[in-house]
Amino acid sequence: MLLIQCPFCGERDLTEFSHGGEAHITRPANPDKISDEEWGDYIFFRTNPKGIQYERWIHSHGCRRWFNAVRDTVSDEFLGFYKSGEQPPKIKRRKVLRK
């Protein structure tokens, strides 16, 4: 069972949450002027890192608020949680987790 720390409700089971994909993706300020490739990049392409990823989650069965989480995509370990609009925590790469 994976536990997620909702910044509003506290620690809850993963199944109460829904995943919202990679966080901190900014919509281009001038969509009319950029190329199709750049627009496609914004819409479809994600970093998909092996390791630490910053991502969005929503507490869909709880307070229904969006927030951000830091997760290691290799070990599935959550390394931090923070509200939308807050500065993401600095996470050091931990080699121990990756064999």
Partner: protein
């Protein structure tokens, strides 16, 4: 001429009318026709908090997953739903005047007050083994060290989103969307049967 005047108070039915609960260590009943009002507002705004306290007679709970209650004639239960969202339970019929009182008190403030009385159904559970029953569909840790009497939490039971309130040690209320009420009731009946077997 036929008298077409209908007294809605005597003719209305609730979503769980006729639902029967098996005899056992746990008793279940529907708390019918409770008034329910949803409040949205800025918890950092002192004017909003003061206005809410004036209209409800009790302060909005600001700590996560807590409930504040007013006893007596104008009894209300106020649930924390989120950092800017609350839910009020009040006696049958009182929600109309309460809604007006809140709207008057919030005049000029950035808020939203909505009557959601008919949207939800409240089920009351009593019994010494009620935790085992809830554990059959709810992922919450109901141990008193994390979920004390007076706490509330939004979660799910099986496939239904619920608002769980621990009134006392062995006494809970579950609020569920009315379209899920029959489903939740049947699930609870079946779970209780399996526990008894």
């Amino acid at each position: 001429m036929v008298d077409t005047k209908v007294d809605f108070k005597t003719h209305r039915t609730s979503p769980l009318d006729g639902a029967v609960w098996p005899v056992g260590p746990i008793t279940l009943s529907e708390k019918k026709f409770l008034g329910k009002i949803n409040i949205r507002g800025n918890a950092d705004d002192a004017a909003f908090l003061a206005a809410a306290k004036k209209a409800l007679g009790v302060a909005l709970p600001l700590a996560a997953n807590t409930v504040s209650m007013r006893k007596g004639k104008k009894a209300v239960t106020v649930f924390w739903l989120g950092p800017d969202e609350w839910l009020v339970h009040s006696a049958d019929g009182s929600q109309i005047s309460l809604l007006k009182a809140l709207q008057t008190a919030f005049k000029g403030l950035h808020t939203a007050v909505t009557d959601v009385s008919d949207y939800f159904v409240v089920i009351e559970l009593h019994g010494s083994t009620v935790h085992d029953l809830l554990a059959r569909g709810c992922p919450l840790d109901l141990h008193p060290r994390t979920f004390k009497p007076g706490d509330c939490a939004q979660s799910y039971f099986a496939k239904a989103s619920i608002l769980l309130h621990r009134v006392d040690d062995d006494h809970y209320t579950i609020q569920v969307r009315w379209t899920f009420a029959q489903y939740l009731w049947d699930y609870l009946v079946q779970s209780a049967d399996m526990m008894a077997a």
